[in-house]
C-alpha cells in the first residue's frame, strides 16, 4: 500500500472541493473494493477523503413519486427497505445476488456503482492492463489468455473487462439517475444509461464523473410496476461474480425491459431490445447482443443470456 494522506469531509460540497484540490484523491466509504485494491497497489491514491460522516444514508420519497437513495445507504439496508422491496423488487434481488452479507453491510450505493472490474489481469500488477496503465496493452486479449469471465459486448481492443456490479444492473433496468455535486458547488443529474463509459481507447475512464465530482444520491423514478426479477448465473451457487445476469421487468401486455450484467463494461440495455420482449428471448438477445465480439472462451455467454431470459419468461 502506498502512503496516503487522509481526512474526513464535513459536507458533500467540501468533499468535492477537497477531491478536486488534491492530485490522485479518492473518496472512501465502505472500502470493500478500494482497500483491497490499495493493498495490492492497483489503486494508489495519494489522498483519501472519508465521506462516511456525511449522512446521505436515508431513502426518501421524491416529488415525482420515486425514491432518492442516499449515496451512503448500505447495500444491506437498501435491499431490505420495505418500499424498495415492494416497488422495485428487481433492485432488492440484484443486491442480494451480490457479494456476501458481510460485504453488503459495508458496501454503499455510490461505492457499488464505482467498483472496479474483477478481470484477473487487472488484479495482477505484473500483467499488462490499459485500465491500470493507459497504453500498456491488454494481457487478457493475448493468445492463450484466460477470458471466460470477461466481456462479450461494448468491449474494445484496449479492454474486455466487465463491470461487476449486480446493483447497477438493477438500477439500469429501473432508469435510475445518479445525482452529484461538483467541486464548484453546482449539482447535476446523470442518467444511469450514460453514467458508465465504454472503454474505447480509454478504458481507464470508467464513468462520466468529472474530477472531484461526488455522488450524493441515486434516484429512482416512480415505480414502473410489472413483474420484476433478477437471475444471476455462475459456477457456484453463491458468492461469485456473474457469468451473466439478467434484470427483467415484464408487464402483463408482454412489454417490458431487460438489462444484462456480466457481459459488458456497463449494465447492458438497449431500447430496441426491450421492444423485442413481446417476441421472446431470442428476439431480445438477437438485438441486445447483435454486435457481440466474444472470445472463444466466453462466447457461451450469448447463448446463456438467451437461455436465462427464456427461463425467466417461462417461469412467470
Amino acid at each position: 500500500m502506498k502512503t496516503f494522506t487522509y481526512e474526513k469531509a464535513r459536507d458533500p460540497a467540501q468533499a468535492a472541493a477537497l477531491a478536486a484540490s488534491h492530485k490522485d484523491a479518492k473518496f472512501i466509504a465502505g472500502g470493500t473494493n478500494l482497500l483491497d485494491l490499495m493493498k495490492i497497489e492497483v489503486e494508489t491514491p495519494a489522498h483519501l477523503i472519508d465521506v462516511n460522516g456525511l449522512g446521505l444514508d436515508t431513502i426518501t420519497p421524491t416529488q415525482d413519486g420515486g425514491l432518492r437513495i442516499g449515496a451512503l445507504v448500505r447495500n444491506t439496508d437498501l435491499a431490505a427497505d420495505a418500499q424498495v422491496r415492494r416497488d422495485y423488487p428487481v433492485l432488492t434481488r440484484a443486491l442480494v445476488a451480490g457479494a456476501s452479507g458481510q460485504l453488503r453491510n459495508k458496501a454503499t450505493t455510490a461505492g457499488n456503482l464505482l467498483q472496479r472490474t474483477r478481470c484477473p489481469y487487472f488484479y495482477d500488477t505484473a500483467q499488462a492492463c490499459n485500465k491500470r496503465t493507459p497504453g500498456a496493452g491488454c494481457a487478457a486479449q493475448t493468445p492463450g489468455a484466460v477470458s471466460r469471465q470477461l466481456g462479450v459486448i461494448g468491449t474494445s481492443a484496449a479492454c474486455i473487462a466487465t463491470h461487476p456490479s449486480d446493483m447497477a444492473v438493477g438500477l439500469r433496468v429501473l432508469d435510475a439517475v445518479v445525482e452529484t455535486i461538483l467541486p464548484d458547488g453546482s449539482r447535476r443529474e446523470i442518467p444511469i444509461e450514460t453514467f458508465h463509459k465504454l472503454p474505447g481507447q480509454t478504458p481507464h475512464i470508467e464513468n462520466a464523473l468529472q474530477p472531484g465530482e461526488f455522488i450524493t444520491a441515486v434516484s429512482l423514478p416512480a415505480p414502473v410496476g410489472g413483474a420484476q426479477s433478477y437471475r444471476k448465473l455462475r459456477d457456484r451457487a453463491s458468492y461469485a461474480f456473474a457469468l451473466i445476469s439478467v434484470a427483467l421487468i415484464r408487464h402483463p401486455d408482454g412489454s417490458g425491459r431487460v438489462a444484462l450484467g456480466g457481459v459488458a463494461p456497463k449494465p447492458w440495455r438497449l431500447q430496441a431490445a426491450d421492444d423485442q420482449l413481446p417476441n421472446g428471448a431470442s428476439a431480445v438477445m438477437a438485438t441486445l447482443l447483435e454486435h457481440a465480439n466474444p472470445t472463444a472462451a466466453n462466447a457461451f455467454k450469448i447463448e446463456l443470456a438467451e437461455r436465462t431470459l427464456a427461463a425467466m419468461l417461462a417461469e412467470e
Binding site: L233, L243, A314
Partner: protein, 730 residues
C-alpha cells in the same frame, strides 16, 4: 513394536473409547481463537520482524538485476534478501523445483526476494518498490493439449498379459479421452513461518504436515545439521498436501532472520499459494476397456499425461487402474511432460483423485455399452487379488458391499433408466454413482507417553493435526490402552523434539500414528507391570487404575516419585505389501438436477459408503469424508486452475477467481461406514479415511449430469455451458 503378522484379538475389539463418537479435544481452543497458528506465535520469542516475499513475474528466464535501492530506503525496512545474493539452494529430493537462490527463474511467482520490516504493511509496501529486470525465455509451450496430440510412445508403467490382442478381440469395447484441469489446495491458512536463530541453531514455528521431512529438507537446503533445527507446528489451518514439503515461506523466513539478526515471520500471500507452491497437475487421459459379452473386463488400458517441472512426475492419474478392477490384460502408461508451470505435486489423493475422475466415467460408459446397471457392472468386475499379480491378495476388500449397501440406501433402483428422461418442472433430474479406491499406506510412527502422578498421561509425537482430528484419535487411543478417560490425556503434537511420526499425508496419518501411540502405551504398561513384578498380560487397566490380583492401584501412583516415560514406535513389516494390498474402498451416489434451459446444476443429495477398516472416531471420520465430498463437488463443477497458455501461469490466483464450493452448493450428505476390520492394516485394524471421501465423487456428479441431460462430459469441470448441446432449445 514391530507389526509383522496380521493382528489377532486386541483390546480395541472390546473398546470403550476408540471407535466411539468423541468430539474434538482441540475444538474449544479453535472456536475460541486460542489455538496458536504459525503466524500468531507472538509469545514464543520477542522482537519479531515481518517479511513479505516478492515473486518472479515471468515463467522462465534469467534475472538480470534486482534493484532494491528504493525499497531499502522505505520506512521500517530492516533488510532485504534477494535470490541473486545466494547460489541456487540445494533442494530436498521431495521438492521438484529449487525454492530460492540463483538467477534462474523456472516458474511464475518463484520467490526471488523478501523484504524485512517492522510491520507487515511496511514490508509489503517496500516489496512493491523493488524493480527486477529479466531475460525472458520466449516460445515456451504451456499447452498440454498440443503435447498430447504429439505424444510418442513411452515405456509402460506396467503391462500384464497382452492388452492389444485382448482389446482387439473383446466383444465390447470403449476408447475415450478425459481431461481434468489443475487444482489448487486452496486451504484456508496460507503457508506461514516464524524463524529464529540462536547461533547456528534454527527454530521455525511453521505450518507443515510432515515435521521430520521438513527438518530434513531444511537441513539440506540451508546446509545445517538436523540436530540444529527445531520445527514446531502444533496447529495447521488445512494442508491437503500443500504443506507436505518444505516451501518458500520457511526458507525465506530463515534466511531473512539470519540476515536481519532478528526473529522474522512470513506468510505467503494468497496468489503465491496458487503460483509459488504446488498444485494438482492437469491431466489428459485415455481409457480403453474391453469386455466379454457378459461384461467381464478382459482388457483395460489407462494412459495419462501431466505437466511437471523437470525431474518430477506430474499427476500420476493411472495409479488406481492397476488394481481397482479385474481383467487379465492390462496396460498402464504415464507421460510426464516437462513444462515450466508452477510445480505439480501431491494434493489430497494424488493420482486417484484425477484418475478416478476419468476411470469412473469410463466405467459408467462401458456399463452403458453393455446395457448393464453401472453398479452391477462394477460389482461383476470386483477382484480380491492384485490383477497384476494374483498371488497378492487384498487384505480386506468389501467394495461390492459398498456398492450394494449404497444402492439400497440411496434408492438406486429408482434412478432414471434412460438419460434425460426425468423432469420436475424446469429441472432435469439425474442420478449417478462411482466407485472409490485409495491405497492405505503406512509409515513408521513413534510416540512418547509420560505418566504423571495425578493420573494423567502426556502423549508427545511429531504427528500433525491438519484439521483432521489427530489430537482426538490419539487421545482416544492412549485413553483406551491406559484405561483412562479422554480428558486425562494431554496430546502434544507437531514438535520435532518429539518422537518422529508418520505425519499427515496420503491418508497414512491416522492408522500409522495411532498404532505408534498404541506401541508406546503398551511399553508404558509393561513398565508398570515391571514395577509390580507381574506379567503385563495379567494386568488390566481401567477406570484410572491398574487391576491385578490384589487391590486396584491408581495409575498415578506409579509416577509418584517421578513421571514414568515410555517411548516406542510402530514399524510395519513387509508382509503387509509383499503378500497383500491394503486399500480402502467406497461408493458414491449423487442425485442432482439440471435447469433445462440454463444448465445450472444443483445437487439434491449425496451418499458415500466407505470401507476403511476400524473407524477410530465416527465424528472426525465423517468430517473427513464429507469434506472430501465437498472437494469432489468442487472438482466436478467449478475448480480449475486457469492456465494462461502463452505466459505460463495460473491467472485465477485468488479465492475470487479460483472458486471452491460454498454452503449453497452442498446438499444433504450421508456417510455410511461399513463395520469392517482389517487385521493386515495395523494392530488396531484401522485404515486411512482422509482421502477416500474425495475419490470418485466428481465422476459420480458427472455421471449424474449425464443421466439428467444425456450430455456425456469428459472435460472437467462440468460447467453449465458444456451441457447446452443436450438441453432443450430456446
Amino acid at each position: 513394536m514391530k507389526f509383522t503378522s496380521p493382528a489377532t484379538e486386541t483390546i480395541f475389539d472390546t473398546s470403550t473409547v476408540v471407535g466411539k463418537a468423541t468430539h474434538r479435544v482441540d475444538g474449544p481452543l479453535k472456536v475460541s481463537g486460542r489455538a496458536p497458528y504459525a503466524y500468531e506465535r507472538h509469545d514464543v520469542i520477542d522482537g519479531q520482524l515481518v517479511a513479505y516475499p516478492l515473486g518472479a513475474t515471468i515463467a522462465k528466464g534469467r534475472i538480470l538485476s534486482i534493484d532494491t535501492q528504493h525499497a531499502k530506503a522505505a520506512p521500517g525496512v530492516h533488510t532485504i534478501i534477494t535470490t541473486l545474493e545466494y547460489d541456487e539452494l540445494p533442494k530436498d529430493e521431495r521438492n521438484v523445483a529449487s525454492l530460492f537462490g540463483g538467477d534462474k527463474v523456472v516458474h511464475y511467482h518463484q520467490a526471488i526476494a523478501a523484504v524485512v520490516a517492522d510491520s507487515f504493511e511496511q514490508a509489503r509496501a517496500a516489496a512493491n518498490l523493488i524493480t527486477v529486470k529479466y531475460d525472458i525465455e520466449q516460445d515456451l509451450d504451456f499447452d498440454l493439449e498440443r503435447q498430447w496430440q504429439q505424444r510418442g510412445t513411452v515405456e509402460p508403467v506396467s503391462a500384464t498379459g497382452d492388452f492389444a490382442q485382448a482389446f482387439q478381440s473383446a466383444a465390447k469395447t470403449l476408447d475415450r479421452e478425459y481431461r481434468t484441469p489443475g487444482h489448487s489446495h486452496a486451504m484456508m491458512e496460507p503457508h506461514s513461518t516464524l524463524a529464529h536463530w540462536d547461533g547456528d541453531a534454527l527454530t521455525i514455528w511453521t505450518s507443515n504436515q510432515m515435521i521430520a521431512w521438513n527438518r530434513e529438507a531444511l537441513a539440506v537446503t540451508l546446509g545445517l545439521e538436523e540436530d540444529n533445527i527445531r520445527v514446531d507446528s502444533p496447529y495447521i489451518g488445512g494442508g491437503f498436501g500443500s504443506k507436505l514439503f518444505l516451501r518458500s515461506d520457511a526458507v525465506l523466513a530463515a534466511l531473512a532472520s539470519k540476515a536481519s539478526g532478528r526473529p522474522v515471520k512470513l506468510a505467503l500471500p494468497r496468489p503465491f499459494v496458487m503460483n509459488n507452491t504446488t498444485h494438482r497437475g492437469e491431466t489428459i487421459q485415455r481409457i480403453r476397456i474391453g469386455t466379454d459379452a457378459q461384461g467381464h473386463i478382459t482388457a483395460i488400458a489407462h494412459t495419462a499425461m501431466s505437466p511437471t517441472q523437470p525431474g518430477g512426475q506430474g499427476e500420476q492419474a493411472t495409479d488406481q487402474t492397476r488394481q481397482f478392477y479385474a481383467g487379465a490384460n492390462r496396460l498402464i502408461e504415464h507421460h510426464p511432460v516437462e513444462m515450466f508451470l508452477p510445480e505439480s505435486n501431491a494434493m489430497r489423493a494424488p493420482g486417484e483423485a484425477s484418475g478416478l475422475m476419468a476411470l469412473e466415467i469410463a466405467m459408467d460408459e462401458m456399463a452403458e455399452v453393455l446395457d448393464m446397471d453401472p453398479v452391477a457392472f462394477r460389482a461383476l468386475n470386483d477382484t480380491q487379488v492384485d490383477p497384476e499379480n494374483p498371488k497378492r491378495t487384498f487384505s480386506d476388500r468389501n467394495f461390492t458391499r459398498c456398492l450394494s449397501e449404497g444402492a439400497r440406501a440411496f434408492g438406486w433402483h429408482d434412478r432414471p433408466q434412460t438419460p434425460a428422461s426425468r423432469r420436475d418442472g424446469n429441472w432435469l433430474i439425474g442420478m449417478g454413482m462411482a466407485g472409490a479406491y485409495r491405497g492405505s499406506p503406512v509409515l513408521t510412527s513413534g510416540a512418547r507417553v509420560r505418566l504423571q502422578a495425578n493420573g494423567t498421561v502426556i502423549v508427545e509425537t511429531d504427528m500433525t493435526d491438519i484439521g483432521t482430528g489427530s489430537y482426538t484419535i490419539i487421545a482416544q487411543t492412549a485413553a483406551e490402552v491406559m484405561g483412562l478417560p479422554v480428558s486425562a490425556i494431554d496430546v502434544r503434537l507437531g514438535d520435532s523434539n518429539f518422537p518422529r511420526s508418520a505425519g499427515s499425508g496420503g491418508q497414512f496419518g491416522a492408522p500409522s500414528s495411532t498404532a505408534g501411540v498404541y506401541a508406546a502405551c503398551v511399553k508404558l504398561r509393561e513398565m508398570i507391570a515391571q514395577k509390580l513384578q507381574m506379567p503385563e498380560a495379567e494386568l488390566s487397566f481401567s477406570d484410572g487404575a491398574v487391576h491385578s490380583a490384589g487391590e486396584p492401584q491408581l495409575i498415578g501412583t506409579f509416577a509418584t516419585d517421578a513421571e514414568l516415560v515410555a517411548e516406542d514406535k510402530i514399524e510395519f513389516g513387509k508382509f503387509r505389501s509383499d503378500d497383500h494390498i491394503v486399500s480402502t474402498f467406497g461408493a458414491h451416489f449423487v442425485e442432482l438436477r439440471v435447469h433445462a434451459l440454463t444448465g445450472e446444476i444443483r445437487l439434491n443429495r449425496m451418499l458415500a459408503v466407505c470401507d476403511s477398516g476400524r473407524i477410530l472416531n465416527p465424528i472426525t471420520a465423517r468430517s473427513q469424508v464429507i469434506g472430501g465430498m465437498v472437494m469432489g463437488v468442487g472438482a466436478a463443477m467449478m475448480e480449475e486452475m486457469a492456465v494462461d497458455r502463452t505466459q505460463g501461469f495460473f491467472a485465477n490466483h485468488d479465492l475470487a477467481g479460483y472458486e471452491v464450493p460454498v454452503h449453497m452448493d452442498i446438499p444433504s450428505q450421508e456417510v455410511i461406514f461399513l463395520d469392517t476390520l482389517d487385521p493386515v492394516a495395523t494392530p488396531m485394524k484401522a485404515k486411512g479415511i482422509g482421502e477416500l471421501g474425495l475419490c470418485g465423487v466428481a465422476a459420480a456428479v458427472a455421471n449424474a449430469a449425464y443421466n439428467a441431460t444425456g450430455v456425456r462430459l469428459r472435460d472437467y469441470p462440468v460447467t453449465l455451458e458444456k451441457l447446452f448441446p443436450g438441453l432443450p432449445k430456446v
